[in-house]
Amino acid sequence: MSDTTQAAELRVARRRLAVDSIGIWVLAIVIGTIFGFTAREGGLSLVEAAAFSSILFAGAAQFAAVGLLAVAAPWGSIVLLVWLLNARHFLYAASIAPHTTHLPRRIRAGLAYLLTDEAFALTSAHIARLGRFDLAGGWYAGFSIFVPWNLATIAGWLAGAALPEPGTIGLDVMFPASMAGLAVGLVRDRAALIALITGGAAAVAAAILINPSAAAMIGGLVGPFVGIALTQRGRETR
């Protein structure tokens, strides 16, 4: 492939990444604002709320931590819950890792800091479109969440009470809609489709039978396994 063709492909993929990230910004602003408000209601100072968003930087875990602080749970149980909730990020990093081995360690260490659900989703879709890792795209995906999330946390702490309830204007479906949309966008073959469906089914079962916090981890582990097994079985049958 010529350099001109590669450059054109890169431009198209980056434009698509930028457009996809608009919905993620909106999501980060809405949920980040709610977190800032919730943190204040839970008794966190502005600096503490900002520390949660900038250092911990993991939406669901931040809400869970504030919820536990509100009932005076011990720090040990809060830290443990946060770690368990964020264990799924191990899968995300493992999925991206084979595409980043050519990068210096300090760059990979920096990218890891920004690896949230949404950053992983945007980065995976970008890799799938390009067939390789684009460092500028990777940074962009990470900061697309980090910057609005942190600014919105501060805004929510300062002015959250004045904002409408997200459910009243339909914004509560934006998070699952973004995850579903990005998951569907990653389906390139039968194995991926099976992984998506079985991952979703396993997650629902896990959320009901075990714990909602285990859902993503179990779905993310079970889905690929079934996707590979059923695809191989189909090949052997033919």
Binding site: S45, F52, L56, S178, G181, I197, G227
Partner: protein
């Protein structure tokens, strides 16, 4: 009145952040990731659709510990289908919001 500059809980954020960062960084920094066998690489490739689908499904099909198909599920699935058709995440998310508002208004009427 909360002192906006109080820092008592900052160490808790740091402790939570250490484990979170470890989960995010270890696979990216581990040596030999590029020499993994092909089936493992296929497995890793499929984690994306599986994990993201899992997050979405658990969000829309489970409420109060029970299986439920409500307006949110219909809206998210419709939005994902429209997003795939129009090749745009933004269009899909906007469609989900419109559909859930329409369904809630219909149910309330």
């Amino acid at each position: 009145m909360i002192d906006p500059f109080r820092t008592d809980l900052v160490p808790l954020a740091i402790l939570g952040g250490i484990g979170t960062y470890a989960a995010r960084a270890l696979p990216l920094l581990a040596p030999g990731v590029d020499r993994l066998p092909a089936p493992v690489l296929t497995y890793l490739r499929l984690i994306g659709p599986a994990a993201l689908g899992a997050i979405a499904a658990a969000n829309i099909f489970v409420a109060d510990g029970a299986f439920r198909v409500g307006p949110e599920a219909v809206a998210v699935i419709t939005g994902a289908a429209i997003g795939r058709w129009r090749n745009s995440l933004l269009v899909g998310m906007a469609a989900s919001v419109v559909v859930v508002l329409a369904l809630r208004a219909t149910i309330a009427a």
